[in-house]
Subunit: 270 residues, 2 copies
């Protein structure tokens, strides 16, 4: 621990500023972020929050009390803290998430009924696929996605669709990063990925197999808004053994078209 | 406007404290709360935020900028502000909401498939039913519930169940409040409501018709945790014309039992 800058109150690898340069608001937000970074935590002790937020224990104690008073954090029986319901209440009211989810949900349910496997709705946020919704049956294949979670663009069905239809500069900057290989079949070569994205744009669908989680395959299709811009992607994830059938691909396309229409999209000539 | 205390920086009817007694954290949280109170707003101007939060415009301007920098608020093209995706991301990570929802979702989907009407999952929060999940078909009856929304306990199916199984002091204090009559059939007499709650406890199910929204009826049942305590309620809402059938009531009970079992509940003798 001695070599770490934490004793000077500097968050590890996050901010080069000494803690005193951060505003009260920034320190308060750093406390909430402690539950998301470096990895999601459902409960943290006061000292773990202090370390993750790069704050002295006394400051953390005082600011955590403010969060608790508001309801954004909850103190558990064991003395640790978790994110509180007030945060959830405000969060679900966020217009982007709420509107898109509300409009998409009946279509996602139809898709779920036809597949009985995982159904995903995701948007592009930075260099990640951010999962807005996930419907799962009792016996669906085990995968790591979760509502509010993020997964890479190059190794997930929804991610490939979102990347394929992203602005050119986003594609360039994403391909310039070091792409992680999760499984032997994960495509990490920028050249190969570029060709794949062109194929997805031409086909209007992404097929993915054994590239993120062993044993799972995915079909994903783009959702467009009134202006024709791709704003989200929908997918089903099935066991690789039950490799997506043409019917499954058709069902995903239909769901994507339905949601796009509900968002005001009209295909040229349609 | 002249008679209002807002000019002294005191939020209307909310806090008797002058604004200067509030900490920076409390003022920051008042800005987020502006999007929920007095009524949910998807977008607000700076001056509307200032008025709702009971803060001077200059303070509001500075603190809104801190929210935007963090991602908890987003500045829209028209200059107004809305709640941001960062808030949504943290909110959906809230353990209570996330765990209960994750466990319940497959059962809610089964229930949705059997009914094709609205399916609700709600918890008791203060004197309200707080809606954690809502699944709706394309053609379900129009009702006012929404995920993250709150509705009264005495006029909704899930609310009646949550109230019936609430601690005695919660029931007492709720019945001591003035109960709003939404429709002619809404039960607002404490004495009558007390009898109804006893019936719900005895039957293990609440039936509600034309008490909140014209044209809709509801069947709700309690969800218990490992300790046997009622922690949530599940319901379907159907058109009153298609008044809940015995099959529908059975399906809601089954879903509630399934979720309770998944939470670790074992009925005595089961």
């Amino acid at each position: 621990m001695s070599g770490k800058p934490a004793s000077r109150g500097v968050p590890e690898g996050e901010s080069p500023l000494p803690v005193d340069d951060r505003s009260v608001a920034a320190r308060l937000f750093a406390i909430a972020d402690a539950f998301a970074k470096p990895s999601p935590a459902s409960a943290l002790s006061l000292s773990a929050i202090a370390e993750r937020a790069g704050l002295p224990l006394s400051t953390t104690h005082r600011l955590v009390a403010e969060w608790v008073a508001w309801g954004g954090l909850t103190r558990l029986d064991d003395g640790r803290y978790s994110l509180g319901m007030r945060l959830w209440e405000l969060g679900v009211q966020t217009p982007t998430a709420r509107n898109l989810r509300t409009i998409a949900l009946p279509y996602l349910e139809d898709l779920y009924e036809s597949s009985r496997e995982h159904v995903h709705l995701a948007i592009l946020d930075g260099h990640d696929a951010l999962y807005l919704e996930k419907l799962s049956g009792h016996s669906a294949v085990h995968i790591i996605s979760r509502v509010g979670g993020r997964l890479p663009l190059h190794s997930t069905g929804v991610g490939l669709v979102l990347l394929a239809f992203a602005p050119t500069d986003v594609i360039q900057s994403y391909l310039a990063t070091s792409l992680q290989r999760f499984l032997p079949q994960t495509v990490t070569s920028p050249e190969e990925l570029r060709k794949r994205l062109a194929g997805i744009r031409a086909q209007g669908v992404a097929l993915m197999s054994e590239e993120m989680t062993s044993g799972s395959s995915s079909v994903a299709a783009p959702i467009r808004d009134r202006t024709g811009q791709v704003v989200a992607a929908v997918s089903t994830v099935t066991r690789t053994a039950d490799r997506p059938s043409p019917e499954q691909e058709h069902a995903v396309r239909l769901a994507a078209h339905g949601i796009s229409r509900a968002l005001g999209y009209r295909r040229a000539g349609a």
